[in-house]
């Protein structure tokens, strides 16, 4: 059984920090469907549209009927462990540094036999559950875990490497003012975070979260304003070397589209916070985090953005805010590419209207802080890249995937009277 992961000792300042190494990244285009599913925590394989055969490994033509219409579908993530072995060494530096490493074959209930990583708690010939997780190269890999939970199973080194688990990690939340910050901080501490740093802008005026944050043990409130480069650099200088997870929840929003505004003032502030704020944070914290992705138990592991789902398709009643989030979403994709070499994950949480002052005129459903906190912790524990929080975000996602133009036409109705 897995031993409980102890709180790591303080870093030995005489030891060189390990340089990041990564598992192999190269995949065929067909195989990337597995990574796309893993980004959302789904276990999916190709299924032949002609003969329904489930395919493994991913391919361009059906292994039964040579049909080429292979659709990625979620399939039952259950199976039986057939055989397993422990790899003692490897020509791949990543595995060589982590040996011994357990691998084996699993007969899926859906049909195929797959080769995969095996959790150390899986017993021979036992029932297993399959996880499709992103590895440090950002590619989907399969891990079999015991179907019946074991104690501390999340602390297994193989499983932890396929997650961004907050346990024992030091986390920065960038905006003390956001209504969701106290709930998110509490949830992270509940999930085992050792310290939660919280950035507070404009400490020269009171804000409603101050007392709530001061009351939380393990929270440190520090000055940070994402619109002020000097402030971001200063905080990175202080805690950049021990920020394992950065959660960017800084947000500026005002309702209205282009014509409602009549000027570019609020739009500029939205870009300053939602887009350039992310850029400033990445320039200040990114290099330090990238250098620490293999720095022991509490290594740097994830960068989290909380974005409006209208980053995908604009809603003109919040048109300028949506545009700033589209810019932020695009920037997050650049960050994914730039962080990839170091193995630092970028997780985007997409939310619909949140239950706060600026969405007050909108009817429910709205996303409450506990829902964001749950999505965030769950997403980190499962090492996700894309998290859809709440019914509206999921609905917009589904419609966007079905037909972006149809969604755009629905979102841009001119109202009644035509």
């Amino acid at each position: 059984m897995t031993d409980e992961l102890p709180l790591p000792p303080r870093k030995d300042p005489q030891k060189r920090t390990t340089s990041p190494t990564r598992p192999p990244e190269a995949r065929s285009r067909a195989s990337l469907g597995l990574s796309a599913a893993a980004a959302e925590g789904r276990f999916a394989l190709q299924v032949c549209a002609d003969c329904n055969a489930v395919q493994y490994p991913p391919r361009d033509a059906c292994s039964s009927c040579i049909g080429t219409d292979l659709l990625w579908q979620d399939i039952a993530a259950t199976g039986q462990l057939l055989a397993d072995t422990v790899i003692q060494t490897s020509t791949k530096l990543y595995f060589r540094e982590r040996a011994p490493w357990r691998m084996g074959s699993v007969k899926l209930d859906a049909g195929p036999v797959v080769l995969c990583h095996i959790h150390n708690d899986c017993e021979k010939n036992s029932a297993v559950t399959m996880l499709n997780r992103l590895d440090a190269s950002g590619q989907g890999v399969l891990l079999a875990i015991p179907t019946i939970r074991t104690t501390h199973m999340e602390d297994d080194p193989q499983l932890r490497a396929l997650s961004a688990d907050p346990r024992h990690r030091r986390i920065l939340i960038t905006d003390a003012w956001n209504p969701n910050t106290p709930t998110v901080a509490n949830a992270l501490i509940e999930a085992g975070a050792s310290t939660v740093f919280i950035g507070e802008s404009e400490s020269w005026r009171p804000h409603p979260n101050r007392d709530a944050l001061a009351a939380i043990d393990k929270v440190e409130v520090l000055p940070l304003d994402v619109t002020d480069t000097a402030s971001v650099k200063k905080l990175a200088g202080e805690i950049g070397g021990k920020t394992d997870i950065l959660i960017n929840n800084a947000r500026f929003m005002r309702p209205g589209g282009v014509l409602d505004r009549g000027d570019t003032g609020f739009a500029k502030e939205e870009m300053e916070v939602n887009y350039l704020g992310m850029m400033r944070l990445a320039q200040a914290f990114g290099p330090g985090m990238c250098a620490r992705t293999t720095d022991g138990v509490n290594s740097a592991v994830a960068w989290v953005n909380i974005l409006s789902v209208n980053a995908l398709s604009n809603t003109p009643d919040y048109g300028c805010f949506s545009a700033s989030n589209a810019a932020a979403y695009s920037l997050s994709q650049s960050l994914r590419g730039e962080f990839r070499g170091a193995g630092l994950r970028v997780m985007n949480i997409f939310v619909g209207p949140t239950d706060d002052a600026w969405y007050q005129p909108l009817p429910p459903p709205k996303v409450l802080p506990p829902a964001i906190a749950r999505s965030l912790v769950d997403g980190l524990q499962r090492g996700l890249e894309d998290v859809w929080c709440g019914d509206i975000a999921k609905d917009v996602r589904d419609r966007w995937r079905r037909d972006p133009k149809v969604l755009e036409r629905e979102m841009t109705n001119g109202g009644d009277g035509a």
Binding site: E202, S203, W204, R205, P206, P223, D225, T227, D228, T229, A230, S231, R254, D263, G265, F266, E269, A357
Partner: protein, 257 residues
């Protein structure tokens, strides 16, 4: 020696001292806070363009951004609706003679220490005049409260019913304008009006009456405790911004030692 030569000599010898009445432009310096659905005063920001590096090998420079009303700043008549039709009401149009002139300092520091909402009333002004003489026409009147010694949250002193800081009553500011025909009025707080100035009739009386009468404002001043009640000269020249309603500026006073 002509008067300028003797002034130069006095500055060199220290017989005339130059006092800096300006706060440093700093991203963390408070600005006025309005209800969030209104447009807001931009904070001071500074972005590095290059610093002797690949972005410009031999030079360092910054792009800066701010509001006309950020930090220690000047209010022109066109800042307020009452002054929108005042001739030469924007900073680029004001005759430059207005930027140098006599100043008097009304010390309200004891009152402001006892009461965050301390009011400058005609009685306070008359009591000051009984001691220091009548306020000369066309002079700057600066209200000393020692508020500039506050920093962080106590500066705006924002509570759930808004900010609390000292300022003139409608009668107080009208007295200075109508009875003394001053050139302008300056404070150590974030505005020429009291923190609770929105609740006077009219709201924000210092802005309303000063600018309606073509007078000027200065706010976020510092070091007023280093000035004598009378006899100093103020130099406050805003940036020459086309149609500008105000400007951050360096405010200096010349004081006889």
């Amino acid at each position: 020696m002509n008067s300028l030569e003797s002034l130069t000599s006095d500055i060199a010898t220290g017989a005339v001292r130059i006092v800096d009445l300006t706060h440093t432009l700093d991203p963390d310096f408070p600005v006025i806070i309005l209800p969030p659905e209104f447009g807001q005063c931009a904070r001071f920001r500074m972005e590095e363009v290059s610093a002797y590096d690949h972005r410009g090998p031999a030079w360092k420079w910054h792009n800066i951004s701010m509001s006309e009303h950020t930090g220690t700043h000047f209010d022109a008549p066109s800042h307020w609706i009452s002054g929108r039709d005042v001739p030469n009401g924007s900073v680029d149009e004001i005759p430059v003679e207005a930027f140098v002139g006599a100043l008097v300092v009304i010390d309200c520091s004891a009152g402001a220490a006892a009461d965050d909402d301390y009011e400058l009333t005609p009685d306070v002004i008359r009591a000051w005049e009984a001691e220091h003489g009548k306020i000369p026409e066309d002079s700057w009147v600066l209200m000393r409260t020692d508020w500039s010694k506050r920093s962080g949250e106590p500066y705006l002193n924002m509570r759930e019913d808004g900010p609390h800081s000292p300022g003139p009553t409608p009668d107080g500011i009208r007295f200075l304008i109508d009875e003394r025909n001053i050139r302008g009025f300056g404070t150590e707080t974030v505005g020429t009006d009291a923190g609770q100035g929105a609740h006077y009739v009219p709201p924000y009386p210092a802005h309303y009456f000063l600018h309606g009468a073509g007078k000027y404002g200065l706010q976020c001043l510092a070091n007023l405790d280093q000035l004598p009640p009378t006899g100093a000269i103020l130099m406050a020249a805003p940036l020459k911004i086309k149609n500008g309603t105000g400007s951050p500026l360096r405010v200096l006073a010349m004081v006889n030692r």
